[in-house]
Subunit: 129 residues, 2 copies
DNA sequence: GAAAATGCTATAATAGACTATAGCACATGG
DNA sequence: CCATGTGCTATAGTCTATTATAGCATTTTC
């Protein structure tokens, strides 16, 4: 919209909508990215140790696991527990707060599953996915 | 994980989990991106014309609007109707299928809203968002 | 009939996400 | 006491998403 001097036109978007967009994007910020879902699922399955988590997610690198774990910790979705007696024994776990995400995750899984079929149905040569 | 010869270790991730990850990522693929939510909300609010939609979303460029509209059309979330009698009169609308996304969108908005507060509460200087 | 609006698309540049590679400090096992 | 494992992080490169800029063919408005 920097195009062609359209800057002066009035916006129709209401404040409420702008707020909603912002909230939805906050949520997506936490969930999107290539590895966040896999990490949540790995922890959900009971994996706790750094290397175990890494090994359970085919293709992930330490760099990304490290970054995403930190971001998710900042977002209170996981906790990192370091045992002071046995240094360098670290455990990661989902927080109770993370459970508030489960409905969304389940919705996403369900919707994604049927969407894949819908797209296959309509566009036999797979497009857009 | 290409790091340090860890390739030989067994994976704990089950087939079911891998499928679920794939489904969730399909869904996220459709929803994530900076402008898809705003576009859905603009159309939801009844905007139909290309330039109106553009004007209702502060910051979007024609390039992105164009690309995202096309992708969302491929994904059957919107339809593009061109009036043959009045060429270059085009309307975009959400499809009925797109309604299957509403629960997710609403969940995202709600979760994002409370998450913003949670993060504010715990980390006064805003982190991670 | 000139100016502005509509509905775009092409291209190049930039920013951000992700990957590849390397390495460090400590710990445990043989 | 040396190899291997654990828990990382730093750095540089690549690839993808997004932005910036320009422009075109048609249509409506004044």
């Amino acid at each position: 919209m920097v195009d062609e001097e359209n800057k002066e036109k009035p916006y129709i978007c209401t404040v409420k909508n702008q707020e909603e967009i912002k909230y939805a994007q906050d949520a997506l910020y936490v969930l999107s990215g290539k590895w966040r879902m896999p990490i949540i699922i790995a922890l959900y399955n009971g994996l706790r140790r750094y290397r175990d988590i890494a090994r359970s997610i085919p293709g992930i690198t330490f760099t990304m696991l490290s970054k995403d774990l930190q971001l998710m910790e900042l977002n209170k979705l996981i906790i990192r527990i370091e045992d002071p007696d046995f240094p360098k024994t670290v455990e990661y776990m989902l927080t109770d707060y993370c459970k508030s995400l489960y409905p969304i995750v389940e919705n996403l899984i369900d919707w994604g599953k049927q969407h894949r079929q819908v797209i296959r149905m309509v566009n036999p040569p797979e497009i857009g996915i």
